[in-house]
């Protein structure tokens, strides 16, 4: 794809480069600075974590970058967001759709049931993601292989199921299959395992990691669980009240946290597992 010179700014080496992003909301009589001057980048085939407490702006950041931000009540949305050198914030809806369809980015969410259509079978919903007029018959091979890739043993049975017939972990895998349909270079995962049991969480994270490696797909994972970061991510951003307070390699973050807030997060997660470190074997 050729990139118009006028849109080509900054470092093209990064898959995503964000400079001084601000997202402010108007909430009744005051302005909430949900994201307040964030610099952020993702390299190709990298796994990046964003951690922070609820309200720290981590979801808003990712939604602004992926242009999933409702215009409603947004007071200010400024800054520079580039995907492969193209300015995402200034893109037209048509270009944006084109970007999403042509190996751009996909997203999965915490609550898969809220994003699946309860009245359609899963196979049809994946086929829809494959092509605009996709139907299960003509795309059944690809639907099946996507479901297999997302870790299902019996893809045919799953394709015929409705979302409510599946468990939470299976629904999240369906979401992953849909997200993979257009072969994205970048997957945003917003708290993908928070609603899942720990045993299922581990399986879903293993699936994500396998896909990240097999497809050379960059993954941005939002979480409040430092365990997820430790096990999965190469690099991590720590957010607090709309700002990035620390960015580090995940090994560095755990072994040499610089910011007091990160240090506290690391300490807490270590404390919670103070006896865990010593394995029982």
């Amino acid at each position: 794809m050729t990139i118009p010179q006028s849109q080509q700014i900054g470092n093209v080496k990064h898959l995503v480069a964000v400079k001084n992003l601000k997202v402010h909301f108007q909430v009744t009589d005051r302005i909430v600075r949900a994201v307040d001057g964030v610099d952020f980048h993702v390299n190709p085939a990298e796994c990046v974590g964003i951690v922070g407490e609820s309200g720290s702006g981590k979801s808003t950041l990712v939604r602004a970058v992926s242009r999933l931000m409702p215009n409603l009540r947004v007071k200010e949305l400024s800054g520079d967001v580039q995907f492969e050198g193209r300015d995402v914030l200034k893109m037209s809806e048509g270009d944006l759709r084109e970007l999403r369809r042509s190996r751009g980015f996909s997203m999965i969410f915490q609550d898969p049931l809220g994003y699946l259509n309860p009245t359609h079978r899963v196979g049809r919903q994946i086929a829809e993601a494959l092509s605009p007029h996709g139907n299960v018959q003509s795309d059944s091979q690809r639907v099946q292989s996507l479901l297999e890739e997302a870790g299902f043993q019996e893809p045919n049975n799953v394709a015929r199921s409705f979302p409510h017939e599946l468990s939470g972990g299976m629904r999240q895998r369906v979401m992953i299959a849909i997200a993979l349909a257009r072969d994205p270079k970048l997957l945003f995962a917003d708290e993908p395992t928070t609603a899942l049991d720990s045993t299922v969480q581990l399986q879903v994270l293993q699936t994500l990691y396998r896909l990240h490696k097999e497809r050379n797909m960059a993954v941005v994972i939002i979480t409040h669980d430092l365990g997820v970061v430790a096990e999965l991510c190469d690099r991590v951003y720590v957010m607090q009240t709309g700002k990035v307070v620390e960015t580090a390699d995940s090994v560095d973050l755990f072994e040499r946290p610089k910011h007091t807030y990160s240090a506290r997060l690391v300490e807490l997660s270590a404390h919670r597992s103070s006896f865990r470190g010593a394995q029982y074997e």
Partner: protein
């Protein structure tokens, strides 16, 4: 301290649901023959995956549901047979804290109204001293200065503050046991730590016991005296050292699924090869309920349902035929 305040004998709660394809009614054994003693002043954690019956057990303990089978006794008195006075006392002495504080507080009542409602209902204090009393309750759960919170509505409070109000409402009746159903799971990690701290402080000052239902083994390890692991309606292991020396394969599975805050960890990156469960495809109604997921199953597991029994000399009880050999096989090298 060691006197059981609540004891469950063969308690089952059976719901019926429609079968997946058709109109047949099928029983769902949400809680299936649980024997459990809850001692005065202890913190008992109940852990397990979703669907294992933890929350149903909480509802039974709170007298929100009546067990289909079995008996729950409070200080030796069966709950079914309590007279009016005793039942009222039970309702005071066994209090609840729920998962989502914003939905367990009335959105149209201020903090003061919420607390005063309970105080009046149980005639805890005279009108004259009421405000001081309520202020003391808020201070006890770490909301200082208390006056600042009186006129607030739940939506004006953070999740952690809401949960503190819910705890204040429970603790003001001077209960002997607080049943907390997933009290941490809607809170941030740092707030979770504060609430855990508050619980252990309250325990130290008032000797109240806690039954905490959670799926977070890490948090439970830091606070619980004893922990019970539930799987498909049964307690499969109970003891005070299940995190250090798990005896049941399911406990081990849960512990292995935890993510460690260690960036050099390998659970996700290079998972160990899966041990196949030898009986994975066999659908049986008899035998151990963990059979289809258990990598260590043998013939006896498919034939006989293991009952909870003491393991060795410790306080641990486990429902597994092979607990001894399995724990012997993985003792410290």
């Amino acid at each position: 301290m060691n006197e059981p305040i609540l004891s469950l004998k063969g308690v089952s709660q059976i719901y019926t649901k429609r079968s997946a394809k058709g109109w047949r009614r099928v029983p769902v054994r949400a809680v299936d023959g649980v024997d459990l003693d809850i001692r005065e002043g202890e913190t008992l954690a109940i852990v397990g995956e979703s669907g294992s019956g933890k929350s149903t057990l909480a509802k039974l303990l709170l007298m929100l549901n009546r067990p289909t089978q079995g008996q729950i006794a409070y200080r030796g008195l069966e709950l079914d047979k309590l007279n009016h006075e005793w039942r009222s006392q039970y309702r005071r002495q066994v209090q609840a804290v729920f998962q989502d504080p914003s939905s367990s507080l009335n959105p149209r009542m201020t903090v003061e109204e919420t607390l005063r409602h309970v105080a009046n209902r149980h005639s805890l204090v005279t009108k004259l001293n009421q405000r001081d009393f309520l202020a003391a309750q808020l201070a006890a759960v770490g909301l200082n200065p208390p006056e600042q919170y009186f006129s607030r509505y739940p939506h004006q409070l953070s999740g952690g503050q809401q949960q503190r109000i819910a705890i204040a409402r429970a603790i003001m009746l001077r209960p002997r046991v607080i049943i907390a159903d997933e009290p941490l799971s809607s809170l941030d990690v740092s707030v979770q730590a504060q609430i855990l701290q508050l619980m252990s402080d309250l325990r130290a000052t008032t000797n109240v016991g806690f039954v905490i239902i959670s799926h977070d083994l890490g948090a439970m390890q830091s606070i619980a005296d004893r922990s019970a692991v539930m799987y498909r309606g049964r307690v499969v292991e109970i003891g005070d050292a299940i995190y250090q020396s798990p005896a049941h394969p399911y406990t081990r599975l849960l512990l292995d699924a935890r993510l460690l805050p260690n960036p050099r960890g390998t659970r996700v990156r290079s998972p160990p090869p899966k041990q196949a469960a030898p009986f994975a495809s066999v659908e049986t109604t008899q035998g151990c309920r963990f059979l289809h997921r258990c990598p260590h199953a043998i013939e006896i597991c498919a034939a006989i349902d293991p009952q909870l029994r003491p393991l060795g000399l410790g306080a641990t009880q486990v429902a597994c035929h092979r607990a001894e050999e399995l724990s012997a096989a993985t003792t410290p090298v």
